[in-house]
Amino acid sequence: MSFSVTEPRRGTKWLAGILVVGYAIITMVPLLWIIATGFKSPTDSIAYPPVVVFDPTLEGYVNLFTDRTRATPQMLEEAGPPETWYDAIAQERGTVITGPSRYGERFLNSVIIGFGSTALCMILGTAAAYAFSRFRVPLKDDLLFFILSTRMMPPIAVAIPIFLMFRNLGLSDTHLGMILLYTAVNLSLSVWLLKGFIDEIPVEYEEAALIDGYTRFQAFYKVVLPQAATGIASTAIFCLIFAWNEYAFAVLLTSGNAQTAPPFIPTIIGTSGKDWPAVAAGATIFLIPVMVFTILLRKHLLRGITFGAVRK
């Protein structure tokens, strides 16, 4: 292992800095635009040229979380002064809040299905990857290729058979069905990624643990898992992002009960005109869990791979 210890030249550093900042801006702008749109009024949101400085309003968020009905001035008068700030916002637009929207439920569905399938995928993936990495599995190479081959077409290509299977098995529009589906799609990725990480961990550590009086499973749990944490964390992020953002299967297989947020968000637009701020608000809130998850696991992603305690 050798590292260059010379400082890069001043010009090189500047160039690198400009490239990084430039790239960051390009990737951040759409994100910032969505977040900003969530706080705009409907007029500002579709203004041309686009407005950058605007009066922020929570109207988008109120519209996202509530169902409203259009009210006549007479009805408004009868209702009396607004009781809460969100009633006030709704009344300003000549509407009355009739109850909460379904966004909360859909969001919760996304959390259950996304994190559920990620957890299942990590458990199965780590176990399978460990077996492929350490044990003599008959037809190992063929099996690994077969597992990978499930990723050689877009998953949606098998939408019809899956749709029929789900209907026959009663899995349509259930949380369990979606968790199983996303796990099945992600498992090949997680097995391959995790096998790579586990292959990197020298087998001598487990041998030492076996000698030290531990069983194979305890050695796996106490010695391999902590060292594979980096790999497991990054694989989990990939799996979560796929399951979280998946749209096509969610549209096809879920409706009333287990619908996730992605197919729900576009439907907000139809309820009362082109309500872009509400859509943007929905998207903004939808971003938060993945961001938090990634930030929590960031220390594992950035931590250097442990090396050096086994002499090569």
């Binding site: 076996l210 009086g213 002499r311």
Partner: protein, 331 residues
């Protein structure tokens, strides 16, 4: 503490035969050193006893119990790995505690602290106990790895070149320390090394391995003074034994093709003439590189000798070894 026996152990990895019908009895409380070049089967023998590899044929017993089919944990062995194998995610202290906290031992914390402290003291790593295992030098890692075995009180200790990456001073300290620990505790110890000084100073028994076969087993003295073959004779002795054509000094016993002469088997001052090529002064001894009838040989002489290159020395063999063409001892 226990006697260990290997009975007819064979092991192949693919087409290579790592061990070929090895039978050996390691007496209770003995310090057995396995000698041989890389690939002779020393490490494989350790792994057989530890249970990390299973033999293709043969039986292994520890303390009279057949352990051939048992897992390493069930065999109650401690092992020092050549590659250290310290747990990189743990501190030095946690590494040393690890075997004591195993589900088999479940040692009380006070006992753990006492043992870890004791071993750390012996191995001179007390000041490093709270370091990460990866934040150590090679020599320190090796000591922690020895310590991880010493905290336990197993049926047998297995050590695979445990002193190889230490500096000379620490190595000789630990040689004495290890020998002392083994002698005091009465532990059975199976030890692999390339270093014949370790073999000579620590071993009660030496096993010489050659391409997977055990060619000789006995005390270091026996193997030094009564080797069964050129190969076994070459394992011990510094400078190495001189192997020359059998009839170089005159008549040889029937069947002998080579004569083997250790430095002390070459008498100086009488016999036939040889020419001094080089004089190596090592301080406590002086080595003479001689040419005798166009053959090079090395012997040892008085530390303060006045000989110099080009001088003539008369030499003759004294109780030499004779070997047949296949290397086996004939006389």
């Amino acid at each position: 503490m226990a006697e260990v026996t290997l009975q007819g152990i064979s092991k192949s990895f693919g087409a290579t035969t790592a061990l070929d019908d090895v039978t050996m009895t390691i007496p209770d409380g003995s310090f057995v050193v396995l000698l041989g070049p890389t690939g002779a089967g020393k490490t494989t023998t350790l792994r057989m006893v530890s249970g990390l590899d299973k033999p293709d044929r043969g039986r292994i017993t520890i303390g009279g119990r057949d352990v051939t089919g048992l897992t390493p944990a069930q065999r109650d062995v401690a092992m020092v790995f050549q590659q250290y194998s310290l747990y990189p995610h743990l501190t030095v202290r946690q590494n040393l505690e690890f075997p004591l906290k195993s589900p088999i031992l479940r040692t009380p914390q006070a006992e753990i602290d006492r043992k870890v402290g004791e071993v750390a003291e012996i191995l001179q790593i007390s000041h490093k106990l709270d370091n990460k295992a990866t934040a150590l030098s090679g020599g320190e890692m090796q000591r922690v790895s020895i310590g991880r075995a010493l905290v336990r009180d197993p049926a047998v200790y297995l050590m695979d070149e445990p002193l190889s990456s230490l500096d000379a001073k620490l190595r000789s300290d630990l040689r004495i320390e290890l020998k002392g620990i083994q002698a005091n505790s009465g532990a059975t110890l199976l030890y692999v090394t390339h270093d014949q000084i370790e073999a000579m100073t620590m071993a009660t028994h030496v096993g010489v391995l050659d391409r997977g076969r055990l060619v000789q087993f006995g005390t270091p003295r026996e193997i030094y003074q009564n080797p069964v073959s050129i190969y076994a004779a070459s394992r011990l002795g510094q400078p190495r034994i001189n192997i020359l054509p059998a009839d170089l000094f005159g008549s040889a016993p029937p069947g002998a093709t080579h004569i083997g002469l250790r430095p002390e088997q070459i008498a100086q001052g009488e016999g036939q003439e040889s020419v001094v090529q080089r004089v190596e002064r090592l301080g406590d001894q002086t080595r003479l590189h001689l040419t005798f009838k166009a053959h090079d040989l090395i012997t040892v002489t008085d530390a303060h000798t006045a000989l110099k290159a080009g001088d003539i020395v008369r030499i003759s063999p004294r109780e030499p070894f004779y070997f047949a063409a296949d290397g086996a001892r004939v006389a």
